[in-house]
Amino acid sequence: MQSGLLDSLKRIVGTEHVLTNQEDLLCYSYDATPGFSHMPEAVVMPGTADEVAKVLAAANDAKVPVYPRGSGTNLSAGTVPLKGGIVLLMTRMNKIVEIDTANLVAVAEPGVVVADLNKAVEEFGLIYPPDPGTVATATLGGTVSENAGGLRGLKYGVSKHYIMGLEVVLADGRILNTGGKTVKDVAGYDLTKLFTGSEGTLGVITKIIVKLMPAPEARKAMLATFGNLDDAGQAISAIIAAKIIPATLEIMDNATIRTVEEFSKAGLPTSAEALLLIEVDGIPEVVEKEAAKVVEVLKANNAAEIRVAQDAGERDKIWAARRAALPALAKLRPTTFVEDATVPRSKVPDMIRAVNEIAARYNVTIGTFGHAGDGNLHPTIVCDIRDDAEMDRVYKAMDEIFAVSLKLGGTLSGEHGIGVGKLRYMESQFGPAGMTAMRSIKKALDPNCILNPGKLVGECG
């Protein structure tokens, strides 16, 4: 990087907010995605939208790549500075600007950690529903940019359903405002949705207006085990068919159940082919009624064992089993790939069976769990990235998993985004016309391709 640019950056954000030391750069060469790393040339930590604008204008003039970064917990190498350049760290911009209870809206800066936003609105009896597994570490800016989902996706949707407006700095430094506090807004193209999930390739988000929801008064958790995977699949569809939309409807496959049981001795039957975790929430009377109905459906679909949490302690025990899924699998081997191939709800058993078959064929260890209710599964591959031969098989298995999910009418990513991790599968999902349309949008907004170049739509130069 030219010293002229570096000097300008220091003038814009202050010398103490520009890191160029070798050790600091190393610490921004990776994110939570295994297998990708590259050193940036500088880490810049802006404090205001105005500073972001000036940094982008300077970088755009010099045609130096800029990689926006929140907490770096994404699973698609979205923040890895593969072409060097600047990592734009947004964590200093972490103010909650406003909580507007009359309009059920909050305005916050992108560096706010999602759980902190939830803590702040809790005292008003409100929630911000998108709750990825990283809710306590991920930033609002990062989750909006990945369009992150979570455990409550089935009933509450994902990030994009809660983003009402954005302040975005474009690649050349101009500041743009989209959307607003009104529930209804049909004026113009829906730019809010365009920037949501754009993975830092179209602009840098500097302010976010989010919709809040009243916190549910009551909730009830249930756990059911199945000797037969298809019964579990039937039960999932039957619950929805019974007109119940649980907040959470999770599945764990046999490999995951066995691993969890081995680590946590929670008393799960290791012979079960599948386990479902269900939580209904809402008004107390309705919750009771729905829970009873769910139990009925589970029984009708041959659930071997059903547990219904009677109090907070029992609820916690049921959830502990689900929370243990990733940690237990991750402890098996050094490297963990959490994928998020997603299929229509009715295809969940087919997908799990296909993954098991692929795992056996390539001799790799895969446990599958995930959000069965919305078809968003997490085939989790554990391996050792230092073993080349094994990795060869792992990448082949991964290719097949994504191919199967597309074949079953699904999508590459339910919530983790494309980044570079899944770039190679994009063309097969979108076809040439889809890819061209997306690249045109990228080029129109970022003609010099400085924003997160090479990600999501690939090279665009």
């Binding site: 030391n21 600091d24 190393l26 939570a32 200093r92 570490t137």
Partner: protein
């Protein structure tokens, strides 16, 4: 490969287990302040990996970043992969000490520590001449350092060094009439030289419960500060000395009144001698007998509750890192408190979050230690408590420092001091009780 890197090679597999999920960011007190990768366990692990892969080296920059950790174990408790990041960071520091030597302030302090009699002498002199170096604050165990001590901030409130160390105030064996147990009391440095009031309370309370206490004269520092700074060789010297010293007394139990000291005996000593089976076995034998004082009172002694008087106070508790995550003792001090009549116990938010003291961390990084402490002070304030209790001298000192500097009036004690007060109050309530009746239970 150089010697220093070899140290890291030993932990290569342990480092590789980090999946870079970043979950440690949620709990790291240092990350909360800086919000940069190098301050959190994930970043430090990446840096050690970079040294191993030859991408980087053990430089001044590496040293500076590895120093930014209070060894609070919060990351380790949170990690889904079971990575013991706090221990790996200490390994990183060992590699630094081998390559670059110690931080100059610590070097001076540890040089003194190394010679036990000299250390003892130095701290006694500090006690005798303390008023020269420390301006006393009326009414509490705190003074303002008047002279800039090496590594101490000018304004920093330090507890005064006691004019007579604890172990010089008592005979080596404090006898009781019909001892139920014979224990050896590992006082640790803070209790021996600074917070002798805690040591006195331990002795009173144990006496009240018919426990005979030996105070082995030749005991030395527990080695925790030296160990977490990466000086493993010196730490082993201390550990071996303490093991040999306590073996000679063959006590039923070893009792300490500090989370870090207890952790040293229970976990660090056996770990330190992983490649020396004979010493390891000896360390393990003593580890099995070691208890933190509240743990000992609740789990072993089943302390007397029939003769407790009232202590009127609104109390909140701070769980030292090494109590909560080092030895997992948090229920017992609460049971002690709740047994005391008159105590209104109010739990603070996140009682086990680090207070910023971090052993000798706060010596070298006082400013950071203070900002971390500010969060603790705010949590204490919301409880409305007039008294804070904790189980570690360093925490007590650091919290007191913060309270005094912000002009607040809460008192900070060790949990066992409140129990001591309650036993004393019990005697005032019933002055007619004869000595015999008193022992009849």
């Amino acid at each position: 490969m150089s010697d220093n890197k070899k140290l890291l090679t030993e932990v290569e597999d342990a480092l590789a287990n980090c999946m870079k999920c970043g979950n440690c960011m949620e709990v790291c007190p240092i990350y909360k302040e800086f919000k940069t990768e190098s301050s959190v366990a994930r970043g430090k692990i990446a840096l050690m990996e970079a040294v191993l892969s030859g991408q980087s080296d053990i430089t001044a920059g590496f040293d500076k970043r590895m120093a930014m950790c209070v060894s609070c174990k919060a990351c380790t408790a949170k990690c889904p992969c079971g990575v013991k990041a706090d221990e790996l960071i200490i390994k990183g520091r060992e590699a630094i000490v081998k390559t670059r030597g110690l931080h100059p302030i610590k070097k001076a302090a540890f040089a003194l520590l190394k010679a036990r009699p000299l250390f003892d002498f130095g701290l006694r002199m500090a006690g005798l001449f303390g008023p020269l170096a420390f301006k006393k604050l009326p009414g509490r165990l705190a003074t303002v350092a008047r002279f800039p001590m090496p590594g101490l901030d000018r304004k920093r409130i330090m507890a005064p060094v006691a004019s007579t160390p604890l172990r010089s105030q008592y005979p080596e064996v404090v006898k009781v009439d019909n001892p139920k147990f014979r224990v050896a009391f590992f006082t640790g440095c803070t209790i021996n030289y600074i917070y002798t009031d805690v040591g006195q309370a331990v002795l009173n309370v144990l006496k009240e419960n018919d426990v005979e206490v030996t105070l082995p004269a030749l005991q030395h520092c527990c080695a925790v500060p030296v160990h977490i700074s990466g000086d493993i060789e010196l730490a082993k010297v201390f550990a071996k000395h303490n093991i040999e010293t306590f073996e000679r007394y063959n006590p039923d139990y070893i009792v300490a009144a500090c989370g870090s000291c207890t952790m040293a005996w229970k976990k660090d000593y056996p770990d330190m001698f992983a490649d020396d089976p004979e010493m390891k076995a000896r360390a393990e034998k003593l580890a099995a007998k070691t208890y933190e004082i509240s743990q000992f009172l609740v789990d072993v002694v089943k302390f007397r509750r029939d003769n407790l008087g009232e202590v009127n106070a609104t109390v909140t508790m701070h769980d030292p890192c090494h109590m909560a995550r080092g030895i997992a003792v948090t229920a017992q001090p609460r049971e002690v408190l709740k047994a005391i009549p008159g105590v209104n116990f109010v739990e603070m938010k996140e009682p086990a979050r680090c207070c910023g003291a971090g052993g000798s961390f706060s010596l070298a990084h006082y400013d950071v230690a203070r900002t971390i402490n500010d969060r603790k002070l705010a949590d204490i304030a919301t409880t409305g408590a007039d008294t804070v209790v904790t189980g570690c001298g360093m925490c007590r000192m650091h919290i007191t420092d913060g309270l005094v500097q912000s002009g607040r009036n809460e008192q900070v004690f060790h949990t066992v001091q409140l129990l001591d007060k309650a036993y004393k109050a019990g005697k005032k309530d019933e002055p007619k009780k004869t000595k015999d009746e008193f022992h009849f239970h």
